[in-house]
């Protein structure tokens, strides 16, 4: 199980390249979405591995707030073009 978690962390690390390279703002935000999904999976695995059910709640919060951040950012970016 720990190897699987390490593998997921590795994919997260690889996708950091996309944040650096871009090229568009949406690309960088996409990386956050990916971080959120992979982070959720890692937390769920940790919750099982160490018998910590509270980490499932943390995964739930991360999933929720990744959604809030994406939506908020779209509004902020549109505001910039707006005026």
């Amino acid at each position: 199980m720990l190897w699987l978690i390490s593998l997921l962390l590795l994919t997260v690390m690889a996708s950091m390249v996309r944040v650096v390279v871009g090229p568009t703002r949406a690309d960088r935000l996409l990386a956050i979405q990916l971080f959120g999904t992979a982070g959720t999976a890692v937390l769920l695995m940790m919750a099982y591995l160490w018998g910590q059910p509270a980490l499932i709640d943390a995964a739930l919060i991360i999933a929720l707030l990744a959604a809030v951040i994406t939506s908020a950012l779209v509004q902020f970016l549109r505001r910039e073009h707006h005026d």
Partner: protein, 103 residues
């Protein structure tokens, strides 16, 4: 019985990890933003779903499994919505700033 579900669980977990890798490869290799959106929001969501099934089989507790399925539903909805929102933002964005540092 428990051993049986454990054996059943591992293929799901491995398949989940495979889809996460596929999603990341897509993000790194696909040529434009729309296909990259596709890669993250579909492949990774599927990967999470398979992981949830695997962990649910391993844990064998109904409450935990239901909570994890809730997480998955939320990520699924969030992925689909984020994909649409970002794609629409990208389409409607004034294209001028592409060249001169509007990023």
């Amino acid at each position: 019985m428990i051993e049986f579900t454990a054996i059943l669980a591992w293929p799901f977990l491995l398949a989940g990890a495979f889809f996460f890798i596929a999603g990341t490869l897509g993000v790194l290799r696909f040529p434009d933003i729309y296909s990259r959106l596709h890669a993250v929001t579909k492949a990774d969501t599927l990967g999470l779903g398979l992981t949830v099934i695997g962990l649910g089989l391993l844990s064998g507790s109904l409450r935990t499994t239901l909570l994890m399925i809730l997480v998955w539903l939320l990520v699924m909805a969030s992925g689909a919505t984020a994909c649409q929102l970002l794609a629409r933002y990208e389409r409607e964005r004034p294209q001028v700033e592409d060249e001169n540092g509007g990023r």
